[in-house]
Symmetry: C2
Subunit: 297 residues, 2 copies
């Protein structure tokens, strides 16, 4: 099995980053990841002012997937997400959902034991997930801390072992990268960080040729979820809704109006990214009502 | 058991509405409700232009709860929500999450059979819930189609039989009203209406004296959920987050920074109201991490 070291880190999704590994569809690959703070914080006494922000939000990669071409879909099976035995949460002034309030920089080290994160005297069950995952855009550079049609820092708590992510391919080889593992995270990631942790992600890629999704699509056991984003949660909700309505029209032969109605009864709008400049809202469609074919074209 | 007829309808939460029934804490009361369109639509050929909008979004009530005084909490046990055997969904131009798109007025009658709503050839499991539920504000009138600290048109899909809602009491007797039953609804109620249906709601009130929540609080089997609202989803998310952080500080003796961090790992931000002028976001806190006492004071 190929293993990509966590030293192979990029801070943007871009064609300018040369591949650090080549894999074939169907091959297993293990990606080691550093925590989102670049491993810089090892103690609660760490002074956040000292942090080198250029080493934050890295992703391991990029990985060149053989056979991937513009207009394809890269399907990423998340087979396993392992974490280190401790992580770190930071509060950063002017950040998070409450960015307009006054508060202090703060650091907390969180131990991870037997599947629980220990926060003070409180134990919370872990659910290791991948915060940042994506591919290169057609041109330019997108910082790994941002999100978009290429994926990126979507912070979807359901992106765990056992799920599959469908990403559009914009460039030859896709140039995939991932990082920013959280031992657990709630929807919205209120304070801007969660339990940031180093980890290892076991993946397998496959390709769907000549078809591509409009937005990244998460497949869980019982849902397909359209991972949209916009300048505000309102805008992201509208974009996710429109994409879901179009997919339902394709699936059922419904008019716009019928698909819009059906959305009201069966498509949940859920928040993932509330703390980046771009906001992420997902449209969650139960598999009973949609097939993958209607989500990529 | 007292029964309030669906003919006892109001279109605002206000002191100006005289009580139509008086109940004691602990008494059972059945409220009949008309569908949110005032029962005006009985066929898919109905022309929406003809609708009398002054008869839309009614709530049955108000009900005077004996002993309720300003500064108390009214706890409402939702014991049962029954629906008629058919409902109606409408699409209204310039409404819903996609209000900026061009589309036509449209009406669909949805049959309800054996716990499923029949939408074309698709069957969707029902989950009867109360869209509008609240109390009178201290002064003035709040249309039943809006939402706020008094409750109102929150459209929380989890407000089903078996849950309990805590509302602040602003006036003597609380002046409770409820309506706008949906046979089922997804989070966000994308197109502005769901399966709008006449129904019967079985309730029991209780009072918590001299303590009041900042926002309505929903209690489910395993969560407390703060039902906040704001001018945008972003603002509503910030308001819900702040309320959750304050409650976690009270519960655990944490600093603001610690409670904010804990929010990132254990408090989900979820969308309920995305299609009213005011938007609703709830902060969902598992009961393991919070008690009611920290949510009302």
């Amino acid at each position: 099995m190929k293993v990509v070291s966590r030293s192979k880190v990029v801070y943007s999704f871009s064609l300018k980053n040369s591949p650090v590994e080549y894999v074939k569809p169907g091959e297993l690959i293990m990606i080691e990841t550093e925590d989102a703070l670049g491993g810089q914080i090892r103690s609660e006494n760490y002074l956040l002012e000292k942090i080198d922000w250029s080493m934050v939000n890295g992703a391991t990669g990029p990985i060149f997937v053989e056979g991937a071409e513009t207009g394809d879909t890269l399907a990423v099976d998340i087979l396993d997400v392992k974490t280190a035995d401790h992580g770190v949460i930071v509060v950063v002034p002017k950040n998070g959902v409450l960015s307009s309030k006054n508060f202090n920089a703060s650091v907390k080290i969180v131990k991870i034991r037997d599947g629980f994160a220990i926060f003070d005297r409180v134990r919370v069950k872990t659910r290791p997930m991948i915060g940042t995952i994506g591919v290169s855009p057609e041109a330019g550079e997108i910082p790994t801390g941002s999100l978009g049609r290429h994926g990126g820092n979507m912070d979807v708590k359901k992106l765990t072992a056992g799920t599959r992510l469908y990403l559009p391919v914009f460039v030859e080889g896709a140039l995939f990268a991932a990082g920013d593992i959280h031992a657990l995270q709630a929807d919205g990631e209120l304070c801007v960080s969660s339990v940031e942790v180093a980890g290892e992600v076991l993946l397998r890629f496959s390709l769907i040729k000549n078809k591509t999704p409009e937005w990244p699509i998460l497949e869980t056991h019982d849902t397909f979820e359209i991972l949209a984003c916009g300048e505000s949660l309102n805008e992201a909700a509208a974009i996710a809704t429109e994409s879901a309505v179009v997919a339902l029209m394709r699936e059922h032969g419904w008019s716009f109006e019928e698909a819009y109605m059906f959305g009201s009864i069966a498509v949940d709008l859920e928040i993932n990214q509330a703390v980046d400049p771009k906001k992420g809202v997902r449209a969650v469609i139960p598999k009973e009502y949609i097939t993958l074919n209607s989500l990529i074209k």
